[in-house]
C-alpha cells in the first residue's frame, strides 16, 4: 500500500491573491512540471490556489525533496485519500500519526471540513469522532485547540476524504520568473551560485554569464562553471549560460602599468560586456555574488567606481550576508562541493600584490581611455560569446557527451 496518495503544495497568500494570481499559479505549475520531468509518471493538478501532485507509480517520499525546490511554495503536505466514511478516515489518520513516530508529548487538534453535505456528520460532530480514537491509541497526543503542534486536517468530498497532518516547509519566495529576468555574473566561486539561487527563489528568471580566459584559465575551470550552472538548472528547470572569451580584454589591461587597478578595470569591463548581453537577452538587471568588504573589489569605494560602468541596476542578494552563512547556503543548495574545486577563474589571474580598495574614478576613466582598442575588444568579446542551455536532469546528458569526446565508454563501468 502507498503511504501517501497526493502531495499538496501551498503558496503564500501574497503570491496567490489579486490580479497576478493566474500568472503566479501558471508559473508555479510550470516550475513543478519542470522539476518533475525526471518522474514522468507523476501528475500535476491545479485546484483552488493549491497544486496537487499525484505521484503515480513514483514514490511520494522521493518527490518531497524535489518539490521543496518549488519557488513560491510556502509548505507542502503529504495527503492520504480515502473513501468518505468515518472508519476509513480514522484509519488513515491513525496511519499518518503512526508514520510520524512520535517521541514525546505532542499537542494536536483535528480540523474537519465537510464539503460533501451527504456525509452523515457535520464538521462540528466529526471532530471528536475522529480525535477520540486517536487519543486512545496514541497516549503521547494531547489536545490543544489554540496552538497545536499537529493539526490533523480532514477534508470530506463526495469521492474522497483527504487526510493530512504533516507540514513540510517549502523554499518560499516567488514563483519562478514572475519578477522578470536578470543576468547573473557567475564565477567559479562560492558566492555567485548562491546569489543565483537567491535570485531564482525571489521569482527571477536567471541567465548566467561567465568570463573565460583560456589558456590562462583551464578547460576544467570552464567545466566547473558549467557544472555550477547545471546545479542552478536543477532548481530552475532551465538555465542559459553565456561564456565570454575574456583573454584579449584582460591582457590588454596588463600592459597599462596600473597593476593595483587591474581588478577594478577587469570588473568594469565585465559589467560592460554583461550589459550588452543583458540587453540582447532582455534582462533588466545584473546579479552578482558580491558581499560587502569581502575582497578589495567589494569595498564600498570599489563598488561605487565599478558599478558606474553599467546603467543597469546591480542586484546583490548577498551584499550584507556573512561568509559563514553563504557557505551554509551553498552546502544546502549543493554548489559548495563544485565551487571549492581548485581551478582558477579569470579573477584570480593577474591579481596584483596590493589591489586597491579605494580606486579613483578619474584615474580609472583615464586608464580606460588610454587602453588601446578597449571598446573594440569589449565588442568582440560580447560577439564571441558562446551560449549553452542547461536543463534539469541534464548533467547525465552532458556527461555522456564529454565522455564521447574523451573516449570513455559507459559499458566499462
Amino acid at each position: 500500500m502507498k503511504k501517501y496518495d497526493y502531495l499538496l503544495l501551498r503558496f503564500g497568500e501574497v503570491t496567490l491573491k489579486g490580479r497576478n494570481r493566474a500568472r503566479f499559479e501558471k508559473a508555479a505549475v510550470e516550475h513543478v512540471r519542470a522539476l518533475l520531468r525526471p518522474y514522468p509518471d507523476a501528475k500535476v493538478r491545479r485546484e483552488f490556489g493549491r497544486i496537487y501532485v499525484d505521484p503515480g507509480s513514483e514514490n511520494a517520499e522521493t518527490l518531497i525533496p524535489v518539490l521543496q525546490n518549488v519557488f513560491g511554495m510556502t509548505s507542502m503536505s503529504p495527503v492520504r485519500a480515502v473513501a468518505p466514511e468515518l472508519d476509513e478516515i480514522v484509519r488513515a489518520a491513525a496511519e499518518l500519526v503512526e508514520a510520524m513516530d512520535l517521541k514525546r508529548e505532542t499537542t494536536f487538534k483535528t480540523n474537519v471540513r465537510r464539503v460533501w453535505k451527504q456525509f452523515p456528520h457535520s464538521s462540528q460532530e466529526a471532530n471528536p469522532l475522529i480525535a477520540s480514537p486517536l487519543l486512545k491509541r496514541f497516549p503521547l497526543l494531547k489536545v490543544d485547540m489554540r496552538e497545536p503542534e499537529l493539526e490533523l486536517r480532514v477534508e470530506i468530498r463526495d469521492k474522497f476524504a483527504y487526510v493530512y497532518g504533516e507540514v513540510i516547509p517549502g523554499a518560499g519566495g516567488f514563483p519562478l520568473g514572475t519578477n522578470g529576468k536578470a543576468l547573473l555574473l557567475l564565477s567559479g566561486g562560492i558566492d555567485s551560485p548562491v546569489a543565483g539561487w537567491s535570485a531564482l527563489r525571489r521569482g527571477l528568471e536567471v541567465e548566467c554569464i561567465h568570463f573565460h580566459s583560456y589558456p590562462f584559465t583551464s578547460e576544467k575551470a570552464k567545466e566547473k562553471v558549467i557544472d555550477l550552472a547545471q546545479a542552478l538548472a536543477e532548481y530552475a528547470g532551465k538555465v542559459r549560460l553565456h561564456i565570454v572569451p575574456f583573454t584579449e580584454v584582460q591582457t590588454s589591461f596588463t600592459r597599462m602599468g596600473q597593476d593595483n587597478l587591474m581588478i577594478t578595470l577587469m570588473r568594469r569591463a565585465m559589467l560592460r560586456i554583461a550589459t550588452k548581453i543583458a540587453k540582447r537577452e532582455k534582462a533588466l538587471a545584473l546579479v552578482t555574488g558580491e558581499s560587502l568588504g569581502q575582497v578589495a573589489s567589494q569595498t564600498l569605494p570599489s563598488m561605487n567606481v565599478i558599478e558606474r560602468a553599467t546603467e543597469l541596476p546591480i542586484l546583490r542578494p548577498l551584499v550584507m550576508t556573512d561568509k559563514d552563512e553563504i557557505i551554509r547556503l551553498s552546502r544546502r543548495i549543493g554548489t559548495y562541493e563544485i565551487s571549492i574545486l581548485p581551478y582558477e577563474d579569470c579573477c584570480t589571474l593577474f591579481v596584483p600584490k596590493s589591489p586597491t580598495t579605494n580606486p579613483n574614478l578619474r584615474i580609472v576613466n583615464k586608464v580606460e581611455a588610454m587602453t588601446p582598442n578597449l571598446e573594440r575588444l569589449i565588442e568582440e568579446a560580447a560577439d564571441g560569446t558562446e551560449t549553452i542551455e542547461l536543463l534539469a536532469g541534464g548533467s547525465r546528458l552532458r556527461r555522456d557527451e564529454a565522455d564521447a569526446e574523451s573516449a570513455i565508454k559507459q559499458e566499462w563501468f
Binding site: 578547460e219 576544467k220 574523451s406 570513455i408 565508454k409 566499462w412 563501468f413
Partner: protein
C-alpha cells in the same frame, strides 16, 4: 582442475578483463596531467570512484584506491595511530585477524603503541562484550574483520562498531571486509564503520587493486607520500585501467550479493553434509558461517598432505589462509579458538565461487571421499 580456493583469489570476470584491456589500449594518460589525455584518465578514475562508492553505499570522496587489501589494512591501522596528537596509543583487535592487520599492530609496538588482541570463542566468533571490555580511555582504533578468512566465521562487526561508537564516537572503527564484501550485506553507515577494506581480486576483479573506505572526517596519516594523489592519503600514479576494471567488479559483486548469498548457502549446506559423513574429518562450525567457506580439520595429518592429495585428484583448496599456507606452523586462528595441535595443523578450507553448481560440489565430494579413503588408513597406522 576444480578451483575451490576462491577465498584466496577468484578468476577475473570476463567483462572485467575486456574493460581493462580496452582502457589500457585507449588511455595512457596520467590522471594528474592537465592535458586532454590526463583529463580523460582523471575522469575514468573519478567515475570508478563513484561506482565503488555506490557499491558500498557511501560518498565518492570517501573512497581511497590502494594496491589491495593488505595496503588498505596497513593504511587503516597505521594511519589511524601514527601522527596523533591526542595521546591515544591503544588498539583493540582480535587474535583472528588477517596478518596485514595483526602485523601492522605488531610493527606499531616500536612506536609505543599497544594492542589488545581479543581471543575468539571456541566456534571462531569474537564476542562483542569482550571487545568492548578491552576498550580503554586511550583507545584510538577498534579493528575487527567481517568474515574470518580461514574458518568462514562471520564476526559481529556491525554490532561491535555500533557499540564502540556509542561508547565514544571518537574511536575509529575499522572492518576488514575482504571476505564479506559481495557475499554478505553490511550497511557501513548504519553500523558507524569509519574504515572498511576491500580487495578486487576476491570478487572477480584484478589483483593489485583494493580500496579503503575512509569516512568523511576520519583523519589518517598517509603511509605513501609524494604527489598527493587520492586526497593526499596515497601518493603514486593511479593504476587507471585496473581501477576501472575493479570498479566494475565491485559493482557486479554488490548488485549480485543477495542472489549469490542464497545460491552459495545452498551449495555450502550440501558440501557440509558431505564433510560430516566422514568420521575422520572434524567440521569447523561457526555460529554464523559465511556462505562461501567450508572448513574442517583432519587430525593426525598435515594440511599439506591433504591439500596435495586433493590436488592430485584435480581439486585446488587451501590450508589455513593462502598467505600463510606455506608454513607448517599450526594455524594461528585455530590455536586461538583453543584447538589442539593435531587439529591446528590439519585444517583445510574449501571456498566457493560464482561459477560453482551442484555438479562441482558432486565432483568435489567424490575427490574428498577418495582423499579420506586414501589417507585415513595412514593416519590410523600412525596412532
Amino acid at each position: 582442475m576444480l578451483n575451490f580456493d576462491h577465498a584466496a583469489s577468484t578468476p577475473v570476470h570476463p567483462d572485467v578483463i575486456r574493460t581493462i584491456a580496452e582502457v589500457m589500449e585507449a588511455h595512457s594518460g596520467n590522471p594528474s596531467s592537465i592535458h586532454r589525455g590526463g583529463e580523460a584518465a582523471s575522469k575514468l578514475l573519478e567515475r570508478s570512484r563513484e561506482v565503488c562508492a555506490a557499491a558500498l553505499g557511501v560518498k565518492s570522496g570517501e573512497i581511497v584506491f590502494t594496491s589491495g587489501a593488505t595496503e588498505s589494512n596497513n593504511l587503516a591501522v597505521k594511519g589511524a595511530l601514527l601522527g596523533r596528537t591526542d595521546g591515544k596509543v591503544h588498539i583493540v583487535t582480535t587474535q583472528i585477524e588477517h596478518s596485514s592487520v595483526s602485523e601492522s599492530c605488531r610493527q606499531l609496538e616500536a612506536f609505543g603503541i599497544e594492542t589488545t588482541y581479543v581471543p575468539p570463542e571456541a566456534d571462531g566468533t569474537v564476542s562483542p562484550d569482550k571487545v568492548l571490555a578491552a576498550v580503554r580511555e586511550d583507545t584510538a582504533l577498534v579493528s575487527v574483520m567481517h568474515v574470518n578468512n580461514e574458518t568462514g566465521a562471520v564476526q559481529p562487526a556491525a554490532e561491535i562498531a555500533r557499540r564502540v561508537k556509542e561508547r565514544s564516537s571518537r574511536i575509529l572503527t575499522h572492518v576488514d571486509g575482504v571476505q564479506g564484501f559481495g557475499r554478505l550485506a553490511l550497511d557501513l553507515n548504519a553500523a558507524g564503520i569509519d574504515l572498511y577494506s576491500v580487495s578486487a581480486h576476491k570478487i572477480g576483479g584484478p589483483r593489485g587493486v583494493g580500496l579503503l573506505f575512509v569516512r568523511e572526517g576520519a583523519k589518517l596519516f598517509p603511509l605513501l607520500s609524494g604527489g598527493g594523489q587520492e586526497g593526499g592519503l596515497r601518493a603514486g600514479t593511479e593504476n587507471v585501467a585496473s581501477i576501472v576494471g575493479a570498479a566494475k567488479a565491485f559493482r557486479l559483486a554488490a548488485e549480485g550479493q543477495a542472489e549469490r548469498f542464497e545460491k552459495m548457502k545452498r551449495l555450502r549446506e550440501k558440501l557440509v553434509r558431505e564433510v560430516r559423513r566422514h568420521e575422520a574429518l572434524t567440521l569447523t562450525e561457526p555460529e554464523h558461517p559465511a556462505p562461501h567457506i567450508v572448513h574442517f580439520t583432519f587430525p593426525g595429518l598435515k594440511s599439506q598432505v591433504i591439500l596435495h592429495t586433493l590436488e592430485e585428484l584435480g581439486v585446488l583448496v587451501s590450508a589455513q589462509s593462502a598467505c600463510s599456507a606455506k608454513t607448517e606452523k599450526p594455524s594461528r586462528v585455530l590455536s586461538a579458538m583453543g584447538r589442539k595441535r593435531d587439529h591446528a595443523t590439519s585444517g583445510i578450507r574449501f571456498s566457493l565461487g560464482d561459477e560453482h553448481t551442484e555438479e562441482e560440489i558432486r565432483l568435489l565430494s567424490e575427490a574428498l571421499e577418495r582423499t579420506v579413503d586414501r589417507l585415513a588408513p595412514i593416519e590410523g597406522r600412525k596412532r
